[in-house]
């Protein structure tokens, strides 16, 4: 079982959120937007300079700064789709 921060997840890799950290306000906003433990995410693409990255979560796309993605831990699903 591979667990790594969202920032290190490659495009089209999928996984499940196991931890959401970060500053209180940022963390709260992420939780409000559905970035919660147990939710499935797929990294869609990464901006040319590596920041921000876009994920698909709960049926919509969300762009995150790397700073925020650092605090989200993902358990990677085996095998790419």
């Amino acid at each position: 079982m591979v667990i790594k921060p969202l920032r290190e997840v490659e495009p089209l890799e999928r996984g499940r959120i196991v931890k959401v950290g970060g500053r209180k306000g940022i963390r709260r906003r992420l939780l409000d937007m559905g970035v919660v433990v147990g939710a499935e995410v797929e990294v869609q693409r990464v901006a040319p300079l590596g920041d921000p990255l876009e994920i698909r979560i709960k049926g919509y796309n969300l762009a995150l700064r790397l700073e925020e993605a650092d605090n989200i831990q993902i358990e990677i699903f085996e095998g790419k789709l």
Binding site: G25, R28, R29, D32, M33, G34, G59, Y60
Partner: protein, 225 residues
């Protein structure tokens, strides 16, 4: 009770089409001002429909009703303190799960809620099938499907608003159960709150939930009383 004047508040996530719904309802009869004391725009408008004058207040677009941003506090305070006759939550049907989080919070506040299930066309183009009746039953609140961009659903929304404001259609809400440990604490706090004078104008259960969330605004308010 027949009340010929109704005040409704429009709530909803950013980009849920709230402003489009607002424009459909009020047309050119709009008035832009500021929320007292803060530089957040406050839009108000009105319309007449079947003999009713309906005053519409556009709340800031928010994902949640915690006390972390000014927008959220404004939206929340308006619902709690001003007690509009009906709160219309504009929900993006193509992004239901995230949008319903706010709806559930509004129900938890015991707002007189009507859900405007907007962007049904986008949901359909993504081949989402939404059982509107079942959604309404599960949430205990009326749900009106709409495509605000085409003006579809506006009369139905107004009919529902009038029915809810007049008490002809009930909003039963949901009895959301948290897990056992949290629920035990909520019940304890709820009882303490109900027995005190704190509950005035607030739902005791909602206050209990907010206290457990360590919501600083609510803690501050309770300290004052």
């Amino acid at each position: 009770m027949t009340k010929k004047k109704i005040t409704i508040a429009l709530a909803g996530n950013p980009n849920s089409g709230k402003t489009t719904v607002f424009n459909n309802l009020t047309g050119a009869r709009q008035h832009v001002g500021n929320w007292p004391g803060v530089t957040v725009e406050k839009k108000e408008g009105s319309c007449t429909f079947k003999g009713y004058t309906i005053n519409v207040v556009d709340l800031p677009g928010v994902y949640s009703l915690t006390a972390y941003s000014l927008d959220e506090v404004i939206a929340r305070d308006y619902v709690v303190d001003e007690k509009p006759d009906v709160v219309v939550d504009v929900v993006d049907a193509s992004n239901l799960e995230r949008n319903l989080y706010l709806a559930v919070q509004l129900l938890e506040m015991e707002a007189n809620l009507v859900i405007a299930l907007n962007m049904m066309d986008v949901a359909e183009s993504r081949e989402y099938q939404i059982d509107v009746k079942e959604l309404s039953r599960l949430l205990g609140t009326p749900v009106v499907p709409m495509v605000a961009a085409w003006g579809k659903g506006t009369p139905e929304l107004l009919d529902t608003v009038i029915a809810v404001a007049g008490g002809y259609q009930k909003v039963s809400g949901i009895n959301l159960q948290y897990d056992h440990d949290v629920e035990t604490e909520i019940v304890k706090l709820e009882k303490l709150i109900s027995d005190s004078s704190l509950a005035e104008g607030y739902s005791p259960r909602w206050l209990a939930v907010k206290l457990l969330e360590e919501d600083e605004e609510i803690i501050g308010k309770i300290r004052q009383t």
